[in-house]
C-alpha cells in the first residue's frame, strides 16, 4: 500500500462517558497531544455502540473507527463492556471475513486514569489508519455521496 | 530432548571441570547437550553501550544457529549465559539493534529473539526436575553444609535475566537439597566476587571474595559452590572456604565422579 503523504484520515472515536471520555479529558488536562483527526463521540457506555453507527461512519467517509470503554470488570453499568466486547469481536470478525482491513476498527479499554494511554492509543491508531490509506472497502458503491 | 549447548572459551581450558561434569551428568540424567558447531566467544562481557553492535554479534550467531536447529540454547558459564541472554533480550525488545544485527548478519530468516536461552540449572529444575534428580542421586551429600554462591551475572538485571528472585534466589539451594546437601543461606551470596578487576587490582578483588566467604563461613558453610569460572577463581584466591563448581557436586552425587568433600 502506498503511503500518501497528504492523506489525513478521519477517525471517529466512540468513548464511554465514565472511563474513556474521562480518560480523553485527562489526556487534555495533561496536555498530551494526539492528532486532530480524531473526533470523539460521547456515548453513555460502550454497550450503546450499535454496529450501525460504525458502518454509517465508514459510509460517510470515516477511515477508522475505534471504541473505547471501561476495562472489563470496571464498567460503570457493571456489565456493559462485556456485551460490547462480544458484539465488537463478532462484528470485526465478520468485517474481516468480508475482506475489510482488520486494522480499521479497534476496541481499546481506557480508564479514567489512563490519559496517557488514551493519547498513545489515538496516536497509534491514527498512524495505523494513515498507513492503510483512505477507506475504500466499506464505502458502499451505490451510495457514494459526492 | 536435545539441547544446543554453548560451552564458552573458559570451559574449554581453565574450567574443564565445570564443563566435563556438567555434560556427564546431563547425559546420565537423559538430557542430550549437543555442542553448537563452530561457536564463537560470547564476548565475555555484555556491552552496556546502546551503540555497540559488533560486540554482540557472536552471541547473535549462536542464537540464530540454535534457532535454525529448532533447539533451546543451554549455557553453563554464568558470564556466557548473561551475555547471550541479554543479547537475545535486546533482539526481542530493541528494534534498532534487531534491524542492525539482521542487516549485518543477513540470515535467511530474520531473527527476533525466538530462541529460548536456558541456563544449565534451569534445565535441571524445569526439564529434569529437582524431585526427579533427587531420585537419581546415588551418593547423597548428606550433612554437608554448602553455601550457594550466585554472584551477579546469573541474577542481574532481573528484568532481562529473569532467572530467579534477584535478592532471594532459591535455585541453587533447591539443587543442593536435591543432591542431599544442606544449603546455607547467607546474605553475600549475590554480592560481587571482585570480577575481572582481579586482573588489575588483585588485592581489591581478594577483599571482595573474602567478604563473601567470611559471611558464608559465619553462617556455617563448609564449602562454596558456583557456576562461574571467574567467581571460582576469585573465591579460591581470596576466600577462606573451599569452592567447587556445582557440576562437580552433581556428578559426585550421581556417582559419576570420585572424590571427597
Amino acid at each position: 500500500m502506498q503511503v500518501n503523504e497528504t492523506f489525513t484520515p478521519t477517525i471517529v472515536a466512540f468513548c464511554c462517558n465514565w472511563c474513556s471520555y474521562a480518560g480523553a479529558d485527562l489526556s487534555g488536562t495533561n496536555r498530551l497531544q494526539y492528532p486532530a483527526n480524531v473526533k470523539i463521540i460521547r456515548i453513555p457506555c460502550s454497550c450503546r455502540l450499535n454496529p450501525m453507527f460504525i458502518l454509517r461512519a465508514f459510509q460517510r467517509g470515516a477511515d477508522g473507527v475505534i471504541l473505547c470503554g471501561c476495562h472489563p470488570g470496571d464498567c460503570h453499568y457493571t456489565t456493559g463492556n462485556y456485551y460490547a466486547r462480544r458484539r465488537m469481536t463478532l462484528l470485526f470478525s465478520l468485517l474481516d471475513f468480508m475482506g475489510i482491513e482488520r486494522e480499521r476498527t479497534r476496541v481499546e479499554w481506557v480508564s479514567a486514569a489512563e490519559g496517557a494511554k488514551f493519547a498513545a492509543t489515538m496516536n497509534d491508531f491514527t498512524q495505523t489508519i494513515t498507513r492503510l490509506g483512505p477507506n475504500r472497502r466499506l464505502e458502499d458503491l451505490r451510495c457514494k455521496v459526492e | 530432548m536435545t539441547y544446543a549447548y554453548f560451552p564458552g572459551c573458559t570451559l574449554k581450558t581453565k574450567a574443564v571441570d565445570l564443563d566435563k561434569w556438567g555434560r556427564a551428568s546431563m547425559e546420565a540424567l537423559g538430557v542430550t547437550l549437543e555442542e553448537l558447531p563452530q561457536w564463537q566467544c560470547c564476548g565475555a562481557v555484555y556491552p552496556l553501550a546502546k551503540d555497540e553492535i559488533a560486540t554482540r554479534l557472536s552471541s547473535v550467531r549462536a542464537l540464530m544457529a540454535a534457532r535454525d536447529q529448532g533447539r533451546p540454547l543451554v549455557t553453563l558459564c554464568s558470564a556466557c549465559h548473561h551475555v547471550i541472554k541479554r543479547a537475545n533480550y535486546d533482539l526481542a525488545h530493541d528494534e534498532t539493534f534487531r534491524s542492525r544485527a539482521n542487516a549485518y548478519l543477513a540470515p535467511q530468516t530474520p531473527y527476533a529473539g525466538e530462541t529460548q536461552v536456558l541456563h544449565y540449572l534451569e534445565v535441571l529444575r524445569d526439564v529434569v526436575g529437582f524431585d526427579n534428580l533427587a531420585k537419581q542421586v546415588k551418593n547423597p551429600l548428606t550433612g554437608v553444609k554448602i553455601g550457594a554462591y550466585y554472584g551477579c551475572l546469573l541474577l542481574r538485571p532481573s528484568r532481562q535475566m529473569a532467572f530467579d528472585d534477584p535478592e532471594n534466589p532459591t535455585i541453587l539451594e533447591d539443587f543442593l537439597r536435591a543432591i542431599g546437601a544442606e544449603p546455607v543461606v547467607y546474605a553475600q551470596r549475590n554480592e560481587c566476587c571482585g570480577g575481572y578487576v582481579t586482573l588489575e587490582d588483585a588485592g581489591f578483588a581478594r577483599s571482595r571474595a573474602a567478604a563473601v566467604a567470611d559471611n558464608a563461613a559465619a553462617r556455617g558453610a563448609q564449602l562454596l559452590t558456583t557456576a562461574c569460572p571467574l567467581c571460582l577463581y576469585n573465591l579460591r584466591q581470596g576466600g577462606s572456604v573451599r569452592t567447587v563448581y556445582f557440576t562437580e557436586l552433581l556428578a559426585q552425587a550421581l556417582g559419576l565422579k570420585e572424590g571427597q568433600l
Binding site: 450501525m52 458502518l55 459510509q59 462480544r86 463478532l90 470485526f92 474481516d96 468480508m98 475482506g99 482488520r102 | -
Partner: protein, 324 residues
C-alpha cells in the same frame, strides 16, 4: 409421504382438532411450491402437496397465524423445528394455538440442481426411495436423489424434530455436517480475495428484501430498515442504497438467533450466498463462546445476550492468511 401428510392434515380439520392447516401448495410450476393456509379438508385434498420441493420453512408464518382465533396445525421439517423453537424462545409464537406435526425429511431438491444436471423442461418429479424419476419435455430419467438436493441440504446439521405434537416418519438425529467448510475456505483466502468475493456477490443485490422476508429470524413487527427513526431506513426506493450495511446489519441482527435454515440463500433471486455471513457468525460464536445452536433447546442462553469475564478481546481475530 405426501399421502400421509395430506391425510393427516385433512383428518385434523375434519376432527375439529384444528381450524386451519399451514402447509404447502403448488404454484405456477410444480417445483414452485409455496406456503399456504387451508381451512377445510377438501381444500387440503385438492391443493396440498408434500414433495421434494417443499423447502419453504413454515415456522415464521406461525407468528401471525398463532395470534388468530382457533388452533392451527403446521407441518414442520427438522430444520423448520429449530426456527419453531427459537421463535418460541423469543415469545413470538403462542404454542397452545399450534398443533405441530413433524415430518421427517431426506433433503429437499432444487430445480437449479436439476438444471445443472442438464435436465431441461422438467415437467414432473416423482420420489422413489433414494431415486427421483424426472419427466421432462424430452425424456424420462431416473437420478439419485442426492444429485438433485438443494445445496443447503448437502450439509444438513440435524434430522431431529424438536417440540412436535406428533411425528410423521421417524425421529432423527444430529448429523455430522461440514457446513463450515465454505466459511473456512473463505477464511483461508487473503483479505483481498475475500473482499473481491464479497464485493462481487453483494454488488448483485437488488434489495428485493426476499432474504429478509423469508427469514424466520427477521420477523420483527417492523424491520429496522423500515423504521424512519432508525436512521437506516430502506433506501430501496432511492437511486442508491447501502448493500454492505444492509447485509451486515441483517446478519448482526440475527446473530445468535439464526438457526442456519438457509432460506435466505434459497430465495435470493441473485443467488448471493447470504447464509455464509450467518454461518461465519455461528462459527465464531461456537469458537469464541462455546457451541450453541439457536433453537436447539429452550434453555441455553444466546451468546449475544450473555458473556463471561474472560471472553476473548476483539484483537484476537485472525482469519486465514491475513495478519501481519
Amino acid at each position: 409421504m405426501q399421502s400421509r401428510v395430506i391425510e393427516k392434515a385433512a383428518s385434523l380439520l375434519e376432527s375439529g382438532a384444528c381450524t386451519r392447516v399451514l402447509g404447502w401448495k403448488a404454484g405456477a410450476f410444480f417445483y414452485d411450491v409455496t406456503p399456504a393456509v387451508f381451512t377445510c379438508a377438501q381444500e387440503v385434498r385438492e391443493q396440498m402437496v408434500f414433495n421434494p420441493f417443499c423447502g419453504a420453512n413454515l415456522s415464521k408464518y406461525l407468528i401471525a397465524e398463532s395470534r388468530k382465533e382457533g388452533r392451527i396445525a403446521v407441518f414442520l421439517k427438522p430444520c423448520d423445528t429449530f426456527s419453531f423453537v427459537q421463535l418460541q424462545k423469543e415469545h413470538r409464537i403462542a404454542r397452545d394455538k399450534v398443533w405441530a406435526v413433524g415430518v421427517q425429511c431426506r433433503g429437499m431438491c432444487d430445480i437449479d440442481s436439476l438444471k445443472e444436471l442438464g435436465l431441461k423442461g422438467v415437467t414432473a418429479v416423482e420420489e422413489a426411495e433414494d431415486d427421483l424419476r424426472v419427466t421432462t419435455l424430452y425424456q424420462e430419467k431416473t437420478i439419485s436423489r442426492k444429485e438433485a438436493l438443494s445445496p443447503r441440504c448437502h450439509t444438513c446439521k440435524s434430522r431431529k424434530l424438536l417440540d412436535c405434537d406428533e411425528l410423521i416418519g421417524d425421529q432423527g438425529q444430529d448429523l455430522p455436517s461440514s457446513r463450515f467448510a465454505q466459511v473456512e475456505a473463505l477464511e483461508a483466502m487473503t483479505p483481498e480475495e475475500r473482499f473481491a468475493f464479497w464485493r462481487g456477490e453483494l454488488s448483485k443485490c437488488i434489495r428485493c428484501n426476499a432474504c429478509r422476508n423469508v427469514c424466520p429470524a427477521c420477523s420483527c413487527e417492523k424491520c429496522v430498515f423500515d423504521n424512519p427513526n432508525s436512521g437506516v431506513q430502506n433506501k430501496a426506493a432511492a437511486s442508491s442504497f447501502e448493500e454492505n450495511l444492509f447485509h451486515i446489519i441483517r446478519a448482526f441482527h440475527v446473530a445468535g438467533r439464526c438457526t442456519d435454515c438457509g432460506e435466505c440463500t434459497r430465495v435470493c433471486p441473485q443467488h448471493i450466498p447470504l447464509h455464509l455471513l450467518n454461518r461465519k457468525f455461528i462459527k465464531d460464536m461456537n469458537e469464541f463462546y462455546g457451541p450453541y445452536q439457536a433453537g436447539g433447546d429452550f434453555d441455553a442462553k444466546p451468546p449475544m445476550l450473555a458473556f463471561t469475564l474472560d471472553d476473548p478481546e476483539a484483537s484476537i481475530i485472525t482469519n486465514g492468511r491475513d495478519g501481519q
